[in-house]
């Protein structure tokens, strides 16, 4: 990692959690700011222009979604990594579709989180096993009927394979090793999946996320 240390802003309404993350990341990244609510976060991001914003999903006044909506469009260089205790599909998918580059749960270890921050800073996507599972589930089944953008609405065989390996708990490097491709290629696949997830008009996607919570699959 020859690149400079990433500059990070932590947005979370729990002070205890913020300081925990800050101390865990201290050796790996440069935590330049903290924010406890949406207003603070937007001001802080505008002001400090960090590389990566670690953002909590559930906060008062609209939560992480609101922060991304208000802060992301002006500053393309700022990237968001969602960090949450929630593993509900609708939260995960909503954050990704709003523009987050990845989603990790709060139980992630310090070094893993530092690595994820760097990866997001470099423009790559960060998929946890659970997120990979969600995506596979969301894109499963028959391709949508004509009229839809097939490119965006389906995963390629290779992308599926990569996601399956991530869901099985392999790190990107290990996935590359197992599939006999370079780590960069794995990252490219994951980024492609992220783009599809964000741009796909596949109408089932949002509904799927909602329904997964309401109705148990048969």
């Amino acid at each position: 990692m020859s690149a400079p240390t990433p500059r990070v802003v932590i947005v979370d309404d729990h002070g205890l959690f913020r300081s925990g993350v800050r101390s865990e990341l201290a050796r790996h990244v440069d935590v330049v700011g903290e924010a406890a609510n949406v207003e603070e976060a937007v001001a802080c991001i505008d002001d400090l222009r960090p590389d990566v914003v670690l953002i909590d999903v559930h906060m008062p006044d609209g939560g992480g979604l609101e922060v991304i909506r208000r802060a992301a469009h002006e500053q393309d260089s700022v990237r968001f990594l969602a960090l949450s205790v929630s593993d509900a599909a609708e939260d995960v998918i909503a954050m990704i579709r709003a523009g987050a580059r990845g989603y990790v749960t709060k139980t992630i270890s310090g070094p893993d989180l530092a690595e994820a921050v760097e990866r997001v800073r470099d423009g790559d996507a960060v998929f946890s096993p659970r997120l990979a599972g969600f995506v596979l589930d969301a894109f499963a089944g028959e391709p949508p009927p004509e009229g839809a953008d097939v490119e965006l609405d389906q995963l390629t065989a290779r992308e599926r394979e990569v996601l399956q390996h991530i869901a099985r708990g392999y790190m990107y490097k290990e996935v590359a090793q197992r599939l006999g491709i370079s780590a960069k290629t794995v990252e490219a696949h994951v980024s492609a999946v992220l783009r599809k997830l964000q741009l796909s008009s596949r109408h089932e996607l949002s509904r799927w996320a909602m329904e997964r919570r309401l109705v148990d699959p048969e």
């Binding site: 593993d87 139980t107 096993p129 399956q164 869901a167 708990g169 919570r213 148990d216 699959p217 048969e218």
Partner: protein, 420 residues
């Protein structure tokens, strides 16, 4: 009236009043006769004839019927349609009965079986008013308090939806007015008021004034009752939430403080509590574990985690019913998870990934342990292998065990669906 009460009492002794239920679906009018006959175990036609015969004696049967209708509750558990019959139907029925009583009264009057206008008309008005008042406050189930919607006791008559408090009171008010009016008319018609004209006027004025004063209080009372009920529901919810948190989260936190010297145990406790809380928040019934492969797999992993510690992350894509074949995969997967937790649980998290497609079921169990050579397994672990590999083979499935270059073992189970 006395005759009417006697008939009513004969037909339905006070002790049995509670148990007789009108049967509106089987009845001709309101099911009174059908209900009584059903209770007595005889043909309804006998009861009907008895009522008709009683009706011929100065309309006693009609009044008895009306009273029975009012006081005998309808049989519960009637069809939904019957219970939801619109109120208009009730009004029509009441109107019909009223006209019947009226015509019977006129008939009797014309026939000369008549006491006196000054007695009968006020008596009828008082009977109606009294019935209205009694209906509101002395429900068949003794429901004097406002009914608890929507599971309130089924009221007499086909109306099941209990009246809201305010309407209840206004209906009762009409009843009170009828009874008082009837009493006044009776007194006036019998000349009893001549002597006390001024006193009556004064009384009326005072009553009206009191009514004006008390009406808003009454109205407020109704509103307060509704607010009180909402508050009670809210506090019940709070109590339930509090009880749950107390039983689960607080207990676990206390336990964790006592075990603070054992990080593994603390982590396991935290994981278990987290899982429980998530399931509770998502309102996910634990019964799901017995029905679907994904649910059962999650439950199995949770169980292993509880007994052996370590973090087991289960990710599932798709799902299927837990038939014999899925059951075999589940048993094999459970064994693999158990092995991973036993021999590699300390080395890092264990990932379980299951994907169910219409074509096949695949389960991957991956640990971060030192790995082992499947060919060099000691005999005592051969049995364990049997319960994974053998089980899968018997169902026509496949097992692959891989160890990575830098450690970590992955057990892959796959089973074609549809094939046998």
């Amino acid at each position: 009236m006395i005759g009417a009460m006697a008939v009513l009492a004969d037909a339905a002794p006070a002790e049995d009043m509670r148990r007789i239920r009108r049967d509106p679906e089987a009845g001709m009018i309101a099911g009174v006769c059908a209900g009584i006959a059903g209770r007595a175990g005889i043909d309804p036609i006998i009861i009907r004839l008895a009522f008709v015969a009683a009706a011929l004696f100065s309309g006693a049967g009609l009044i008895a019927y009306a009273l029975a209708w009012i006081f005998i509750p309808a049989r519960q558990g009637g069809t939904v349609a019957a219970r939801l019959r619109p109120a208009r139907g009730n009004i029509e029925a009441v109107l019909g009965i009223g006209l019947l009583v009226l015509s019977a009264a006129l008939l009797l009057r014309a026939a000369g079986w008549w006491v006196s206008d000054a007695v009968v008309w006020p008596a009828i008005a008082a009977a109606i008013g009294g019935a209205l008042v009694w209906r509101q406050f002395v429900g068949p189930a003794g429901a004097a308090a406002p009914a608890e919607a929507p599971r309130g006791p089924v009221q007499a008559e086909t109306r099941v939806e209990p009246l809201p408090g305010a309407r209840r009171l206004s209906v009762a008010g009409v009843g009170v007015a009828l009874v008082l009016g009837a009493a006044l008319v009776f007194l006036w018609a019998n000349g009893a008021l001549d002597a006390a004209g001024d006193a009556v006027l004064a009384t009326v004025v005072v009553v009206v004034a009191l009514g004006l004063i008390l009406a808003p209080v009454w109205w407020r009372l109704g509103r307060n009752l509704a607010a009180e009920r909402a508050e009670r529901i809210r506090s019940q919810e709070r109590a339930e939430l509090g009880a749950h948190l107390h039983d689960s989260v607080l207990q676990t936190l206390a336990l964790m403080q006592r075990r603070a010297d054992d990080p593994r145990e603390v982590a396991a406790l935290a994981r278990r509590q987290e899982r429980e809380l998530r399931a509770w928040l998502l309102d996910r019934p634990p019964a799901r574990a017995g029905e679907s492969l994904a649910g059962a797999l999650e439950a199995a992993a949770a169980k292993v985690e509880e007994s052996h510690g370590g973090g087991i992350e289960v990710v599932t894509v798709g799902d299927c019913a837990l038939d014999d074949r899925a059951e075999a995969v589940l048993a094999a997967a459970r064994e693999a998870i158990l092995n991973a937790a036993k021999f590699a649980g300390d080395a890092g998290p264990i990932d379980v990934f299951a994907e169910v497609t219409p074509q096949r079921i695949e389960v991957f169990v991956r640990d971060r342990g030192p790995g082992f050579d499947p060919g060099s397994l000691p005999d005592d672990r051969q049995g364990v292998r049997e319960s994974i590999v053998g089980r899968m083979e018997r169902q026509g499935g496949r097992t692959e065990i891989r160890t990575g270059a830098d450690g970590g073992t992955e057990v892959e189970l796959s089973l074609e669906r549809g094939a046998s």
